[in-house]
Symmetry: C2
Subunit: 477 residues, 2 copies
């Protein structure tokens, strides 16, 4: 069931009002990682709740308690829960979004004050325009259209909006798990839709069905009691840096292959059906090199590059804590150094499976060095990967909505990074989760001059509405 | 010719006056690396010049010009040149010292205000007490004794005192080279004596005849145009850190062996005579582990440890600029990283010989990686090693002076670090240079609670005087 024409026309007719709604949202400086902006994050949550209420949504603010940040004890911004419609004959869709944003200042290289919304050359510019205020406003626009047209929504909706996504989603997992239980706010929903990622390129809409997990590790080497001078001690003692660099060098090869035995082996090869998805993707290796800012792709084969990002684990060496890291030439032998690296995990890998493999390998490599220094190994944080069934009606509905609004078939993508709440929704609710991006690959979500194309905002609003109609029309079998 | 008894008695009788001289010197905060202390460094130079003049030394302040430090253009502290005696029948000894000191503040962990001189439990405590104000005061004490006793000095003396040693001795090399030429202040001296290092332990006086040189290198890897997120880019691009860690890991083995072909091979094995020097040294591997603060010696054989520090090259990995180095878990793929390492050089190695070997090796290792990143290699600074002939009369004289004053034979040591002006004196004057330390291994020269033992100061003053008499008595053949 395509979206009714009057809905689509309403969106076009009210575009300037919708853009004004986004302007209001962008101009609230809801930076969750900035102590001094915490009142603005809370203000943004309240603004959002009022928008929902005005459009007939029943809401609830959930106090997530306090937390410590940069030496301050701060009130967490509330989660805003919402619901509209209780028709048992309709499906219920759960919508997630976050109303906090990344920090931004003019001096980072913005062409404008980042919290002054600007519309220019078909772009809607300002911090949060695409991540994640644009998509949230898109849902509100859909509500407004139905209210003003006097049309009932084709599905029941539940909302979970949070204000701490850019700072680790503190408190959210517990809330989701609690409210997913019988009697809870989101218990019994039929599917989940999250609009908080991006197309693979600037041309083709995407449906996203997978995220990599992560396990972030530290290897610490100690030995000397204090930093030593290399003139006095060079070639007399076991130097922690020498040991650490050997260990870090044993983890990954130059082409990205993970050298820890057993880690790659956990991942099955792609099926023919999956390979076809990569074949079809609107992508070239030039795209990855444009995004990386240099001709450094590991392969000239687009399928290798796409699978490297989406469906294989990766191991990155991030840096060393405790070593000399300033400009200049200090002749120090650092006494205690911690090498940081992480592995992006893919299904069916889990941190619980992978960490013992890494630990055993690092311990064995260190033992082989015969160093008299001490080594400790630990995980700093971790999260599991996620993958959804793209043959589920939730994806079919989204595919039809994309095709109807944009006129082309979407790419089926997996993201290389993590959105941890995705997995929490999937596991606690036991339903299909869809990532339905509104913005493009070049939106600059965590960077300078963040934008959302006007067309992505307006057509994206239509797409979100159309998706609800297609969900309603799908058989739940 | 031993020092006359009346000189030795004068020193004992006037010990408290000598200690007061050191107190005055320590309490001038002549920190050369601190912009706000520059006037104190200049004041210290003037104080020193007046002391010399009062004892009959002809002096000259040399303006070394200006320099840039921490964004300020500063006047360099003057070099203070001095001379006393022009008797053509006597030898002429050149004395070097530096009147500037390292920074120090109570909060670093001092038990006292570092610039308030304290005498306690046989120790003379305060910044600069041993490095290098104690030794300079020792020479002045010798001058005072001879003036007050009405005795002529056994040799002619020339002095070069500088105020920038702790910040790279700016301007000094040019001065030394200029003044070493015919007609220059120090032209024609017969030998050089520098008291600016330490005994190998806390028990045995030392004569030092060698210093390692250094070549400090940076390997820079670039590729991506900006730092990348490991979720989005992990396993799609050549990561600069992966390449750099491989290169750094190929430089040195865990036991300190340098893997760059040709570098170790430049160094001849020790002669039997040299091995005997290490055998005789009053040293145990427990000493190096006590100094390092941990049980991490590369060998349990004291000769291996001593030769590792004194007569073999060493390669230390200092750190990485541009990588993640803070606490926490940042999932960054750094776009540009520079690995810092240095090789301590020993004769006959020179930076000019060693650098091309290192460069060729690093370039070859990088080529073997087949990475699409870019690598650049460079030397940040360098200095040649130095070794003196211990059979020269200058060392024989010092040996006799030590034996006469301390009652035991000195260790013959080489230092693992560098005092670059040593080589400049040796090369520009073409004479034997002796390092004659006054303080002990545990003086804490660049650390907290710097001290000079009272006995080292008083007996050390006798030793410096006795050395001049032994020089006078030696045949110059
Ligand atoms: Zn987001
Ligand atoms: Zn974000
Ligand atoms: Zn010194
Ligand atoms: Zn010093």
């Amino acid at each position: 069931m395509p979206a009714p024409t009057e809905f689509l026309e309403y969106v076009d007719r009210n575009a300037s009002g919708f853009i004004n709604r986004l302007k209001e949202a962008v101009e609230i400086k809801s930076v969750s990682s900035d102590v001094s902006r915490r009142p603005d994050v809370i203000k943004m949550g309240e603004w959002l709740e009022k928008q929902l209420q005005a459009l007939g949504v029943t809401t609830k603010q959930v106090d997530l308690g306090k937390h410590e940040m940069s030496g301050h004890t701060l009130q967490l911004p509330p989660a805003i829960l919402g619901k509209i419609g209780e028709d048992k004959s309709k499906k219920t869709v759960l919508i997630y979004g976050h109303y906090d944003v990344q920090p931004a200042k003019l001096s980072d290289g913005w062409n404008q004050e980042p919290f002054e919304f600007v519309e220019k050359d078909g772009l809607l510019l300002g911090r949060g325009s695409t991540d994640d205020k644009g998509p949230i406003m898109g849902w509100i626009n859909v509500l407004e259209a139905h209210q003003k047209l006097g049309k009932p929504l084709p599905v029941n909706l539940k909302f979970v909006f949070e204000g701490m996504e850019e700072y680790g989603s503190e408190g959210l997992d517990e809330l989701v798990i609690r409210e997913a239980q019988p009697g809870g706010w989101i218990h019994g929903v039929d599917c989940v839709c999250i609009s908080d990622n991006y197309w693979l390129n600037t041309r083709t809409p995407a449906l996203t069905y997978g995220l990599r997990g992560i396990d972030y590790y530290g290897i610490t080497i100690t030995g000397p009691g204090q930093d030593l001078h290399s003139g006095l001690f060079g070639r007399t003692v076991h130097e922690p840096m020498t040991d650490l660099i050997k260990l870090m060098g044993s983890l990954v090869d130059v082409n990205g292959g993970i050298k820890v035995p057993g880690v790659e082996e956990l991942v099955p090869p792609p099926t023919e059906e999956e390979l076809q998805l990569y074949h079809k993707m609107d992508y070239e290796t030039a795209d990855i090199e444009a995004a990386a800012g240099g001709p450094v792709a590991l392969s000239q084969n687009k399928i290798d590059v796409l699978m490297g990002r989406m469906r294989y684990p990766s191991l990155s060496l991030h840096g060393i804590e405790g070593a000399f890291s300033d400009p200049g030439a200090k002749t120090v032998i650092p006494a205690k150094v911690t090498g940081k690296f992480s592995i992006r995990l893919v299904p069916p890998q889990t941190p619980a499976q992978v960490e013992p493999l890494v630990r055993a390998y690092v311990e064995q490599q260190f033992a082989a060095l015969n160093s008299r220094n001490k080594m400790t190994f630990g995980s700093l944080h971790s999260g599991s990967p996620w993958v959804a069934d793209i043959n589920h009606w939730n994806f079919r509905a989204a595919h039809k909505a994309v095709k109807a609004v944009w006129g082309i078939d979407p790419d089926y993508t997996r993201e290389g990074g993590s959105i941890p709440v995705t997995l929490t929704f999937a596991e606690s609710l036991g339903v299909n989760v869809l990532l339905l991006p509104m913005g493009r690959a070049d939106d600059g979500a965590h960077s300078t001059n963040e934008k959302l194309d006007r067309s992505n905002y307006i057509e994206g609003t239509k797409m979100l509405g159309a998706y609800l109609y297609e969900v309603a029309a799908e058989s739940s079998a």
